[in-house]
Symmetry: C2
Amino acid sequence: MYGCPFLVRLRGFQKLTSIEEALQLFFDRLRIEQLKTVTILLHEALNRVLAEDIIAEEDLPRFDRSAVDGYAVKAEDTFGASQFKPKILQITDNEEVGDNQAKQVWTGNLIPKGADAVVMLENTKRINNEKVEIWLSLTPGENVSKKGEDIHKGEIAIEAGTRLKPHHLGLMVALGMAKVKVFEKPKVAILATGNELVEIGGKPSKDQIFEANTLVLSALCRELGAEPLDLGIARDDVNEIFEKLEFGLEKADAIITTGGTSVGVSDLVPEAVNKIGKPGVIVHGVAMRPAMPTALAVAAGKPIVILSGNPVAAMIGFEVFARPLICRMLGLKRKESRPVVKAKITRRVTATLGRKTFVRVRVFQKNGELFAEPVSARGSGIISTMTKANGYVVVPENREGLEEGESVSVHLFDNVEAADENV
Amino acid sequence: MYGCPFLVRLRGFQKLTSIEEALQLFFDRLRIEQLKTVTILLHEALNRVLAEDIIAEEDLPRFDRSAVDGYAVKAEDTFGASQFKPKILQITDNEEVGDNQAKQVWTGNLIPKGADAVVMLENTKRINNEKVEIWLSLTPGENVSKKGEDIHKGEIAIEAGTRLKPHHLGLMVALGMAKVKVFEKPKVAILATGNELVEIGGKPSKDQIFEANTLVLSALCRELGAEPLDLGIARDDVNEIFEKLEFGLEKADAIITTGGTSVGVSDLVPEAVNKIGKPGVIVHGVAMRPAMPTALAVAAGKPIVILSGNPVAAMIGFEVFARPLICRMLGLKRKESRPVVKAKITRRVTATLGRKTFVRVRVFQKNGELFAEPVSARGSGIISTMTKANGYVVVPENREGLEEGESVSVHLFDNVEAADENV
């Protein structure tokens, strides 16, 4: 049993499902199809998801090379050398380094034949054009990057399902690649519902509001690497919602809706979803606050995440349900989450027993410590609480709140102001 | 004095500057000009930097509205109501709620005239089409979002210099905006230098390597919201470097170079920069490891960050010097940094006294705790250490290393694998 058992017993319709169970039920009923792949230039591959293992076609480094600026030498010619008892070697420009010879090399240069170590410039002193003092006794291999020591030919350099960050692109270039096979971006259709809504640029009457959820959810999808598709606004009418959902299911890989769900009463979206086909709505009503009326559905084989129309609830619902869904759709090998930091909460917060409560907080740094200040709000419709906050804290079901000074885990959705400019 | 005083005394050229001092000297000599502004659609504004304060042109909410699904009532009509002693109210469809009347409202609906509170559905029971039981005693204003309680007309809703995240876009839509004035993206030209380098798609001879830094640095610039401009590869020739730098200074707001800097010896890039004009190179040689040969310059009034050619050193140098530079150029009001998490280091790490040492680590979660595993590497040329790592730890100048189990701050440059799917 979830939620407040007292109410559950009395009301009937309020059978709330825990977040964990809701996700489990949802993913159990959903068969996520692998996205098509597409080969693109490395220049365009930032943040895309790799569709196949990258196997090194040659060793990296491609040859023994110097790890420093200095002189390539035979290590044994330097044995016993020190600043106060330098060895003096003959400078050569030949391809091969002979006994008691040294050849100047820069970082990354091929180690010349005959040499097996490099002495750093700062451990040498050039006497003239022909001679150099060596101040250090080297061991063979010192300051040499051996062929293949970074990556061996045939080794998996990057695994399929990796989200490509700048450093991955660098490794692929180093391996001689110019293009890469990635998954196509999943298409996520977004439908807002509600008679009170007016589109951006429209003229609201005195009881109407601008529809903001679609743009927020589109941006959240884009940040994750999905491609949003705006289905516009449906009036509070099951048939209109049904038609727009059908269109979305045809064009996209998943749908997110907002509004038209309230657990048991004005459930236009769940009703329209169930008209499409089995299994339809799988979960309706989640033991969380805000976003309690969230529903999860599968229709025409595709996932539908049915979010509250409240802007804050819609965002929290996206974090909890749409984010892990999209991560799975993307083909990511590893789960991704928002960065989580530990911070001390600056004041007492109350929460609802029997529900996971999501508290918006502003994390800031003071004297090297992180603090989380709850952003107060009376309702989940208060969108400015999201712009004042940069993260959220989850209060578990069995807690009535958090105590002042308690250490909490904050999921960051925006930057924390940096205390130091550099490191 | 920095670096190893022993070497400094003996070598002369090795006057290393601390990171903090280097940044200070650099920014002291640099006058960063504010970028031009451009007005764009909100749909295109994600991650752009706001160029002017957003002042609310009307109250938000625009009218008193319901924060929940339920019945709008006069609070005094519910005084004393409970589940076991319900009040029975008459359901109305009129615009105005009279005494002992209730009007059904959904979240976001206008509060009808006469009503001053909303009772949640779960605290009611509909008897028939005409009557409803109210189970809760309400106070006036309960579950009502008052006009202007989110943001008042005339209030600054979002400050200039804010990087626009999804929630900021949502707030702007709610305020009736369709477009927004943002700063143009700063243009950062990137120049690689070195005879050993071959461009992507080229054919390297047996002692050449693919040039990977440009793509990595371009991607890092893009992540920050700057627009990279690829200047290609310059041979190890002062004149060629000079010409490409001049071109870059004409086209871009800043330049980043890699290679051709090694503190006192093969300093082709600093030499070419100094040919352009005063003040030229401001700092050369930083007390850090890797990236010691980094130089910072100002020429033709524009900043030039001169990075090592080693891929890892170039990336660390970018983090420490180019990142704060670009953040300033972007016009950000608040400093931004990588997310920082505390983790326990899994084994002993050695570092260089007198330098800040940047240790690449892989952060992972185990039993709810974060651990940082050092990614071993012999040289800063080992690019796979960056793909195996997801963050770095900074060992201060006065430490010879880190002890196993020590708690460290990790700057994350990639995701930490999430332990739980949801929260």
